[in-house]
Amino acid sequence: MGRKMNSQPLGTFYQGGKTKIRREWRGLTDTWYDYRCWVKNWGAMVKFLMHPQSIKGFFRYRWMLEYAAAPDFIDRCTEGLRGTQLRMAHTEFDFIVTEITRSLKLLFRGDRNIGGDPKLSEKMIAFDENMMEQLMWGFPNLYGMCVQVFGSFALVALSREGAVRYIDRAEEFGITGDVCTMPKAELGLCIEDDMPLVGKCILHANTTCDSSLMGNGIEDWRYQLPSYTIACAERVVDDLTREYTADEIRGAIRFIEEQTGEKWDWTAYFHNMKLYNDETRCYLEILEMNKTEYPQVPDNNYNLYRDLYYTRMLNAPSEAYREINRKIRDLMYEGYEKKALPCTEIRHRALVWGVQAEFYTNFSNWLLNCWGIVGVTHMLNLTSTEIYADEDTPENREQAIYDLADLYMKMIMRNRTEGGFSLGVDDVWRFCEEYRLDMIIMLEQMACKAVTTWHGIYEEEAAKRGIRVIWIPHALLDPRKADRQSMRDEVNRYMRTVLGEEPFDPSLETIADQNAW
C-alpha cells in the first residue's frame, strides 16, 4: 500500500473538518522524505516566530492566523504525488514557505503599525498587486514589498476563506459585487486597517480590472505616501506602445530616485538580469520536456513557483531562484530518464487557461489524481520567454529600459486577459497544437469581463479544432459563489457523460472538504 499513485482512496481523508484525518502513506522512502520536509517547514515557521516583531505582526493582523495552515497547504499541493514529482513539488512549495516567512519577517521589521524600524521602512517601496518587481534590481539597497501578497494573494492559496471578510468590507463600502475579488480583497484590507504600513513611496500598476481602478485612489488615501502609477500599455503586440511604456519605466526610476535618494545601479541590474535569463532558459527546457510523452513539470507543480520568480513578488535573492531551478532541472531529467509519469496514466493533455482559482482548491492536483488530466501548461506561465540584455554596455543600458518595458507589458495574468485577441484567444490554439493538447480546462472567473466575453468564441473555435473544453466557473478569492466541489462537479459531469470515463479514484469525485482550509 502507498508506493504507487492512486494506491489509496484520497477522498476518504476528508471528513468534513478543516483538515484531513491523516497524512498519506506513500511507501517508506517517499513518506520519510515528506516527513523530513514537514519538519523543515515547521522549523521555518517556528524560526519566524522567534523574532519579537514577527510575534507582534502575528497578533496584529487577522490574516496571519491563516498562515498556520501552511503545512496543510503543502499537503494539498503534494497530494497523491510520488518520486520525482513529490520532490519537485516540495522543492518549490517548501521554498515558497521559507521565502514567505523571510519576507514577512522583513515586512514586520519595518511595519510602522507595530512599532517597526522607520529607517528600514524608508528603504522599502510598496508595490501593487501582481506587478513585476524587476525595477528593484537597479536599487540593491532598497526592498520592493508587494504588501498585498501577504494579506491577499498568498493568503488565499493557503486558506479558502482568507479573503472573505475583506471582500465583504469592500462591498459594504460600495464596491459592486460583480468585479474581480482580488483587488477587492486588497481594498478591503485597507478599509479594515489590516494592511502593514511600510514604504517611502508606492508604485501602482494600472490594472485594468474594475475594482483595481476603483480601489487604487482609496488605498493611496490610507497609505498617505507619494505614489506613482506605471501606466504601461498591455497590447504587447504593438511596438508603438513599447516606447510609451519605456517612458513610464524611466519615470518610475526617477520617482524612486527622488523619493529615496538612491541612484540606479547598472551593475546590480545586469547581474540580476543574467540570473533571470538563466531562469527563462530553464523554463524553456521545461516547456520542451512537457511537449514529450513524459511531461515532467506539469501545471500543478510549477504554476505558483513560476508566478513568484517571474514577478519577483517575494523579493527573494536571484541566487535563491537559481538554486531551485537547478534542483527542478535535475529532478526533471531524472524523471524523464525513468519515463516517470506525473499521474497513474495520462489520459488527457490539457491547457489550463484562465486566472488562478486552483491554489486553495488544489484543482490541478485533483485533475491528475482523479481523472488523469495533466495540465501541461498554464495561461499564467505563458508570459515572457525573451532573453533580455544582460551585459553592461552603453547600448544595453538603453535596451534595458525597453526590456523592462517589455516585462511590464507582459505582466502576469493581464498580458493574456487584457493584451488583445491574439494573446487571449488565437494563442490558445497555437499552444494546443504545439504541446499536442486535446483538452482545455477553462477557468472562467465570473467577474473577469475580459475572458468571459470571449466565451462563445472559445467554444466555436474549440469545436472547429476538435478540442474539448471543460468550463469551470469560479469566483477567484470568494469560495461562496463557486466552491471547490462545484468546480470538481463540472469536470466529473463532463468526464462521465461526454467521455464515458471512470475516475482513477472514485473517492475523489465528491470530497467532504466544504469546511477545509
Partner: protein, 61 residues
C-alpha cells in the same frame, strides 16, 4: 551508571521519544488538528484590536 555514559543515553532516549512523537503527530495530522481546534479562539483575539477608522474625503472617490 557513569555520568559520561548516562547523559548520552538519556539524550538518545529523549531524542528517540521526540522522534516517535513527531512521527505520530505527522501521520495523524495532529498539528493541523490542533490549529483547527485553536482557530476559533484565536480568531476572537483580532476582533478586539484597535483599528483606525476609514473616512476618506469625498474627493478621493
Amino acid at each position: 551508571m557513569n555520568k559520561l555514559v548516562k547523559i548520552p543515553v538519556v539524550a538518545a532516549g529523549a531524542g528517540a521519544g521526540l522522534f516517535a512523537v513527531s512521527i505520530v503527530v505527522y501521520y495523524f495530522n495532529l498539528d493541523m488538528r490542533l490549529i483547527e481546534a485553536l482557530h476559533p479562539y484565536l480568531s476572537k483575539w483580532y476582533d478586539h484590536i484597535e483599528r483606525r477608522p476609514f473616512n476618506p474625503p469625498k474627493e478621493v472617490f
